[in-house]
């Protein structure tokens, strides 16, 4: 028998064994699937949140509002100063008059604005800083505030950085949860295989007596663990796909309210493959630990 057909036939036998009795096998797989889908689902949501944060904080913009009394000459001076600053990539000047017109258009308050005695808006610079972290942007913002004639300096993406910090925190929480549940998965497999070695004690004993190597005896159990893990992983993937499908519509409505075109990204192909491989590996590991522990207890050695 070639190695491949041999392994395939073992896999076939083991597949049947997982589902005898059918209910117990299904419950095991479901438990593994749910345990895996929790951290993975949270991971997917976090991944989405992070995409959103990146989208929002990718442009490190600072708005500088000048005091109403600033003279055009002063404005020129500030502009040269800003242009020479090493931390600044781009400087755009928006004069008070320039700012007023689009305000009227976008808000539909043209009539109100037309009725104003004087323009209430200040001159402003919109500055794109060189890419940096939240800290360096804050330093830059504080520095620019010191410039004579600047009334207010505002970091537009400040809240996005806060959100990012929260996401990073949640990421660690997910990691902890994932580790705990992985340990749970190993335990489930460990116990299932323990019961298997008990029910197949006779077979193991006879096989040992007539010259089976440990590898031969171990093989079906390892396959069992790996296959059960894999089926659990597939279940988890299905649960996540279904869950995201359920979230899709409410989220679309929500993002419409915020005038954003944000849409939920599904579990990527590479992530699903990693999930399946990981679950397969955990199942295999649990089985390996269990077989190593319980096989040596069956005589003869």
């Amino acid at each position: 028998m070639s190695a491949l057909t041999r392994h395939l036939s073992v896999a076939g036998i083991v597949f049947k064994r997982i589902f005898t009795p059918p209910l117990a096998g299904l419950i095991n797989i479901l438990v593994i699937g749910i345990a895996l889908s929790l951290p993975t689902g949270m991971y997917v949501l976090l991944q989405n949140a992070q995409g959103l944060v990146a989208q929002l904080s990718s442009t490190p913009q600072i708005s500088l509002f000048l005091s109403m009394s600033t003279t055009p000459e002063n404005v020129r001076k500030i502009r040269t100063q800003l242009n020479q600053h090493p931390g600044i990539k781009k400087v755009v000047f928006i004069s008070r008059t320039e700012a007023l017109a689009p305000l009227g258009q976008s808000t539909g308050l043209e009539d109100v604005i037309a009725g104003l005695e004087s323009n209430p808006l200040p001159d402003a610079f919109v500055i794109t800083a060189n890419a940096g972290n939240a800290k360096s942007l804050e330093t830059l913002r504080d520095e620019l505030r010191q410039i004579h004639g600047v009334e207010l300096s505002q970091l537009d993406s400040a809240w996005a950085y806060k959100l990012e910090a929260i996401v990073n925190f949640a990421r660690i929480a997910v990691l902890v949860l994932a580790s705990l549940l992985s340990f749970g998965l190993i335990t489930i497999t460990f116990n299932t295989i323990r019961l298997q070695t008990l029910t197949q004690r006779d077979e193991i004993q006879v096989a040992k007596l007539i010259g089976a190597t440990d590898a031969f005896i171990r093989r079906p159990f390892l396959y069992f663990g790996a296959l059960q893990g894999l089926l659990g992983g597939i279940t988890a993937t299905l649960i996540i796909i279904l869950g995201l499908q359920l979230l899709k519509h409410p989220l679309a409505t929500l993002s419409q309210l915020y005038a954003s075109n944000f849409s939920l990204q599904p579990l990527s192909l590479s992530d699903s493959l990693s999930l399946l491989l990981f679950s397969l590996y955990l199942g295999w590991l649990g089985a390996w630990l269990s077989v190593a522990r319980h096989l040596s207890q069956i005589k003869p050695r």
Binding site: V206, L209, I210, D214, F216
Partner: protein, 229 residues
């Protein structure tokens, strides 16, 4: 082929099962191991298959010191032995055919060839018609023959049988003995433990008698003179 040299075996608890056992079994020889129950027959057979290890002395099989073998080498030793267990050790979760197939699966034998071998072994013990039956459905004699078929299917050079006629009536016992003799004729080395006087009475084979763990007598074929106790 099999050689015991000053072998002692003591089970935990301090009871000496075998004391200074020394004998040799040549290639192709057939011998009976006799003695009352508790004389150490089963233990002696277990030492050959390294199911138990001696406390002192050495057991050689094919010039290999079995008592010094590492765990990983044991399967390959056991594949050279056909063992017929006292309690049969048949698997009741599979049919007759699959029971006999097991040793070939373990040796990772060619799939097509396996089927032929299994049928040949079943034919030899007269169970060819019962391939699909579950061992539970077999009579005691048939179970014993199934156990023999499993022991011979990968054509071992040494056959060990522990009380193969233990619970069988005379007719069945004679049948099984004739099967063993046919193996002997094709050059298999056989060591059969028995306390069945009927089997031994009209047998010309060598007889090793154990008493309380010691070799009491060793009658070789052709030796007419019997050593007295």
């Amino acid at each position: 082929m099999i050689s015991f040299n000053q072998v002692c075996k003591r089970y935990p608890g301090g009871f000496d099962v075998l004391k200074q056992v020394t004998f040799e079994l040549a290639k192709g020889e057939m011998a009976f191991l006799t003695g009352h129950s508790g004389a150490g027959k089963s233990t002696l057979l277990k030492l050959i298959a390294a199911i138990e290890r001696p406390n002192s002395g050495s057991v050689l099989v094919n010039n290999q010191n079995v008592s010094a073998l590492k765990g990983a080498a044991l399967p390959y030793l056991r594949r050279n032995l056909g063992i017929i267990f006292q309690d049969h050790k048949l698997l009741f979760d599979r049919n007759v055919f699959d029971n006999v197939l097991l040793p070939l699966q373990i040796c990772e034998f060619d799939h097509k060839e396996s089927g032929k071998r299994v049928r040949a072994a079943l034919d030899k013990v007269g169970l060819l018609g019962r391939e699909k039956a579950n061992p539970v459905a077999l009579s005691g004699g048939e179970q014993q023959r199934l156990c023999i078929a499993r022991a011979i299917v990968n054509r071992p050079t040494i056959l060990l049988a522990d009380e193969p006629t233990g619970n069988l009536d005379a007719e069945y016992a004679a049948e099984i003995m004739s099967i063993f003799k046919s193996f002997h004729q094709v050059g298999v080395t056989l060591l059969i433990s028995t306390h069945d006087a009927g089997v031994l009475r009209n047998s010309p084979e060598r007889m090793i008698e154990l008493k309380l763990g010691e070799i009491q007598a060793d009658f070789k074929p052709g030796t007419i003179e019997k050593e007295k106790e």
